[in-house]
């Protein structure tokens, strides 16, 4: 592991997570044996269901007892233990470069730390981790692999990221729709400040493709609390727009709009069975990861 990777992976966070075993649900597809159940039906010992015979099915899987009862050919299907296949989708747009106070991580820095930590954990338990970085378009991508070198590759990619460009989640969704044909866990790290109002619907579409989607919504405390009082010239971080306002004059309206927007995000995610995790960038990493992994563990059990 490089120095950059070591910096991203906080040792304290790793130490606290060492006892946890990451499990994803049984429907996740994996190629390596491990703790996770695979949605692929093969020659495992554990019967799953019957399927009506179709040409091309192997004859050895035909359940002759069922033929005797129903006078129809049914093929036995089995569950197979497999590894998790995960896509870490990181937003590297200009707005992710924001930090409200010195000494605090930018949203992109925080997102990279989260993604790197998760990649490390997954590869450690022989799950496959991949990476997709988008900033207007998908700028970097690493196909999920379970090899230890994958962690270094992911970390190096994350380390090299600089914020820039627009937030365009549609590009990431299109990329995953094309590249992630097998069922995968998709973890999106973004501030979701996409001007396209359909953005969250697109993310929800990934769920319809049987991917297990988690949205880490990263926001700086300054975005959540709006601690501005004096006249301030607010500059857009993704284009040339700006607006001058006295902070205390617009705070109330801003917080109302922000609250409504976040409520909408939560509602849409809930309706689409997409897990939504709000992350403040002044929040300790373990407070984000441990509850998340614990939930995954419980749902996989």
């Amino acid at each position: 592991m490089t120095l950059a990777g070591k910096r991203l992976l906080d040792p304290e966070v790793l130490a606290r997570l060492a006892g946890l075993r990451l499990r994803v649900r049984a429907t996740a597809e994996g190629v390596l044996s491990g703790l996770h159940r695979s949605p692929h039906h093969g020659q495992s010992v554990e019967f799953s269901e019957h399927k009506e015979y179709a040409p091309g099915d192997e004859l050895r899987h035909v359940d002759w007892k069922a033929w005797g009862k129903f006078d129809k050919y049914y093929v036995k299907r089995f569950e197979q233990e497999t590894n998790l296949r995960a896509w870490l989708v990181v937003d590297a747009s200009g707005s992710m470069g924001y930090r409200g106070a010195e000494g605090r991580l930018t949203k992109l820095g925080y997102a990279c730390t989260l993604a790197g930590t998760l990649a490390h954990l997954m590869v450690r338990q022989q799950d496959a981790a991949g990476l997709a970085v988008f900033a207007g378009r998908v700028t970097n991508a690493l196909t999920p692999r379970a090899e230890p070198s994958q962690v270094n590759a992911i970390l190096e990619t994350l380390e090299a990221l600089t914020p820039g460009g627009e937030t365009r989640i549609e590009a990431a969704v299109e990329f995953l729709a094309e590249r992630a044909r097998r069922r995968s866990a998709v973890m999106v790290f973004s501030d979701l400040l996409d001007r396209d109002e359909r953005m969250i619907r697109m993310v929800a579409d990934l769920r319809r493709r049987r991917h297990e989607v988690t949205v880490f919504h990263l926001l700086d405390p300054a975005e959540l609390d709006f601690p501005f009082d004096d006249p301030t010239l607010f500059l857009s971080m993704e284009d040339a727009r700006s607006v001058e306002a006295r902070g205390r004059d617009v705070r109330r309206g801003y917080l109302e709009l922000l609250g409504k927007w976040m409520d909408g995000l939560r509602r849409t995610c809930g309706e689409s069975d997409v897990e939504y995790v709000l992350v403040r960038t002044d929040q300790p990493l373990d407070e984000v990861l441990v509850p998340f992994l614990a939930r995954r563990e419980r749902s996989a059990a």
Partner: protein, 714 residues
């Protein structure tokens, strides 16, 4: 109404109202540029609140500007002036002002729960407040007849306010003509420069007695020549009449019919009221201080604006100093509702009458007429008649007076008589056929005022033409306390006395100090008095029976004998003095062996810093309030001090202050030079004060603007 400012120079403060605008224009804070991700929300929030914020900003600007402008305007003291006030002010420009405050006794009149002085003081303070910053002023406090203090106008408002606030109610008369004259002279002081006008503000009750309109009206001497001041009379009575009733005089006369100490006390009550009043209570109080009690209550009918006299009789319990007070129920001016009088009620005098030639026939007895004269019901004298033998046994210390009638000589009693007189006793010696001049001279050793010489016969009684030849009294000292009572026709009772025989006296002794009270028409002394030690001796040159003189049948005999006895007993000493009037100096003569230590006023305050009399042992005091004044004497021998009731005296209020009739406005303004120069402010407000002050409203507006600004910021 027009707007004016008390401190127009302070209007520069209005520039402060431009501070919010200046801050907005020149010190507008540059916004800090901050990259911010969620700019869409900021833009949308700004769009939604922009109209409300713009309105709030405008309101804030207005509130701040109003706050500063209102405060600056309030400091400049704006006011609306009535048109007539502007006209009264005459030409614009700063004025030197003299405020005359009347503190005379009539200003104690209570009207509407306040004294007129309280109102006048408020008027004067308000007038002082209304002066502009460039206007000098002076204050003349007017109470008493003396020239008032009138300093040149000054800008020291604190001192002027203090003088007005500390001006005390006096019990004296004020001469406002003198006071406004002094104020006008102060306004003409050469140090007063840079003023366009000179004003006189007189805060008074406008009673007529305070003004002398036959004197010239005040004129201010200015560099441009004499100039009439602008006069405003601040009427403390607000145009109302001042009805008053008071006890104007009190006279006490002996009334034998009432008793041995009886007096008839006559009170003169005056009224200054529009309607007649009936059953007005009048009480006669006796005594002073804690011992005072009401002796007589009476009712009287008082005609409208008239005078009535009421006589009340009272018999004092004993002789000696006494105080009587006639009092009306207190009215709006209570000071003149009571008058006191200090009396010396004659004491009972014990007289030892020594009859040198007793006779079995009463009318031939030497002491018959004297005993009859002294024993009358109204006489304070109680005679005891003894013959020469009884005189030898008598104890002189039991008597106040010894009267020797036709006694050959005192004999062995001569020395005792001398010490009796030296110790304060009185001795009366009348002549007769038995008197031995040489033995008197030998036995009495200079006690008599003059040594006896020989008997002279002016005419033989019963002889033809004897009446015309008889000697008559001439050169009578009517001022002597014994004889002062004989006035007018009563003097005939002395002047008609015929004396056929009388004793001639040797020329006066060098050390005698005798005072001849009456002489015969040939110049020979008839009545001679001399002080010996603490006592007195009176020597009569003839007899007290009809043998030598017919005085015994004259009307003057009885009072003269009673007064001689009283005088010798010390009962007539200086007690006929009239009461003083407040503000008038009074001389108090100390009795022998005593010194005046202090004077106690009716207020109970001791006054020890007294001006001594030049000629005699005594002091001069100027009473500053009416009532009973008492005198504390110090015994020169023992050094002890005590009140001497015999020296107490009453002080009456100045009757001019009781007369509360008011001057007609036109009469007074005409004296000052007509309406162009003078006016009467019946509402008590100086022209400058008849205004609608705005500063308090402006301050209220400033406070409201301040609160509004705070609410908008919240």
């Amino acid at each position: 109404m027009s707007l004016s400012f008390l401190h127009p120079a302070l209007l520069w403060g209005l520039a402060a109202a431009a501070i919010p605008l200046a801050i907005h224009l020149f010190y507008r804070r540059r916004p800090r540029a901050v990259p911010f991700p969620a700019i869409d929300f900021v833009m949308q929030a700004r769009r939604e609140t922009e109209r409300r914020l713009k309105l709030r900003r405008v309101l804030l600007f207005v509130a701040r500007t109003a706050l500063l402008a209102a405060a600056a305007l309030a400091i400049a003291r704006p006011r609306f002036l009535a048109p007539e006030v502007q006209a009264a002010q005459g030409p614009a420009g700063p004025a030197a002002t003299a405020i005359v405050l009347d503190t005379s006794a009539s200003m104690a009149y209570r009207l509407g729960g306040k004294t007129l002085l309280d109102r006048a003081r408020e008027d004067a303070l308000e007038a002082l407040r209304s002066l502009g910053p460039g206007e000098p002023a002076t204050v003349v406090v007017c109470g008493g007849d003396g020239p008032p203090r009138a300093d040149p106008p000054t800008f020291d408002r604190v001192e002027l306010r203090r003088r007005i606030a500390e001006a005390e109610q006096t019990h004296l008369r004020s001469d406002l003509t003198t006071c406004v004259g002094a104020a006008a002279r102060a306004l003409g002081d050469p140090a007063v420069t840079g003023v366009a006008r000179r004003r006189l503000l007189v805060a008074t009750d406008l009673t007529a007695t305070a003004w002398r309109l036959d004197s010239p009206a005040p004129v201010v001497s200015t560099p441009a020549g004499p100039e009439r001041p602008e006069v405003t009379l601040l009427d403390a009575a607000r145009g109302e009449k001042l009805p008053n009733r008071w006890v104007a005089a009190l006279v006490a006369e002996k009334e034998p019919a009432v008793g041995s100490h009886g007096y008839r006390i006559t009170a003169t009550v005056s009224g200054q009221e529009a309607a007649a009043a009936s059953d007005v209570p009048l009480s006669l109080r006796v005594g002073a201080g804690k011992d005072e009690r009401t002796a007589v209550r009476a009712l009287l009918d008082l005609p409208a604006s008239g005078i009535v006299k009421k006589s009340l009789a009272h018999d004092f319990a004993s002789g000696g100093p006494a105080v009587v007070t006639a009092a009306l129920p207190p009215d709006a001016l209570p000071e003149d509702d009571a008058l006191s009088l200090a009396l010396d009620v004659p004491r009972e005098v014990k007289a030892l009458v020594v009859n040198g030639a007793p006779s079995a026939v009463r009318h031939r007895d030497v002491a018959f007429f004297l005993e009859a004269a002294l024993s009358g019901p109204s006489s304070p004298v109680r005679p005891t008649v003894v013959d020469a033998e009884g005189f030898g046994k008598a104890r002189l210390s039991d008597f106040d007076v010894v009267m020797l009638l036709d006694l050959r000589s005192p004999g062995a009693k001569g020395a005792e008589l001398a010490s009796f007189v030296e110790g304060g006793g009185g001795l009366f010696v009348a002549m007769g056929d038995d008197v031995d001049p040489d033995r008197y001279e030998a036995e009495m050793k200079g006690l008599l005022p003059a040594p006896l010489h020989v008997v002279k016969t002016a005419a033989e009684r019963g002889a033809p033409g004897a009446s015309e030849k008889a000697a008559r009294l001439a050169e009578i000292d009517w001022d002597h306390p014994i004889l002062r009572v004989f006035t007018g026709p009563a003097r005939e009772g002395l002047e008609s006395v015929r004396t056929y025989r009388y004793m001639l006296f040797k020329p006066d002794r060098k050390e005698g100090g005798a005072r001849v009270m009456a002489r015969y028409d040939d110049g020979a002394p008839a009545l001679v008095e001399a002080r010996r030690g603490r006592g007195r001796v009176v020597l009569y040159a003839s007899t007290l029976d009809p043998d030598w003189s017919d005085w015994t049948i004259r009307t003057s005999f009885l009072p003269a004998m009673q007064r001689i006895a009283a005088w010798l007993a010390g009962g007539l000493d200086g007690r006929s003095e009239a009461p003083s009037v407040v503000g008038s100096p009074r001389s108090i003569i100390a009795p022998a062996g005593l010194r005046i230590a202090a004077i106690l006023g009716p207020d109970g305050r001791e006054r020890r810093d007294l001006a001594p009399l030049a000629a005699k042992e005594g002091v001069v005091v100027t009473p500053d309030r009416p009532g009973l004044w008492q005198v504390m004497v110090r015994d020169l021998a023992t050094g002890g001090e005590k009140l001497d009731p015999a020296l107490a005296f009453a002080v009456w209020p100045d009757p001019r202050e009781s007369d509360t009739r008011r001057l007609e406005s036109a009469e007074l303004t005409a004296w000052f030079g007509g309406e162009a120069h003078a006016r009467v402010a019946a509402d008590g407000q100086a022209p400058e004060a008849r205004e609608l002050p705005l500063w308090s409203w402006l301050l209220l507006l400033a406070v409201a603007a301040f609160l509004a600004e705070g609410l908008l910021l919240v």
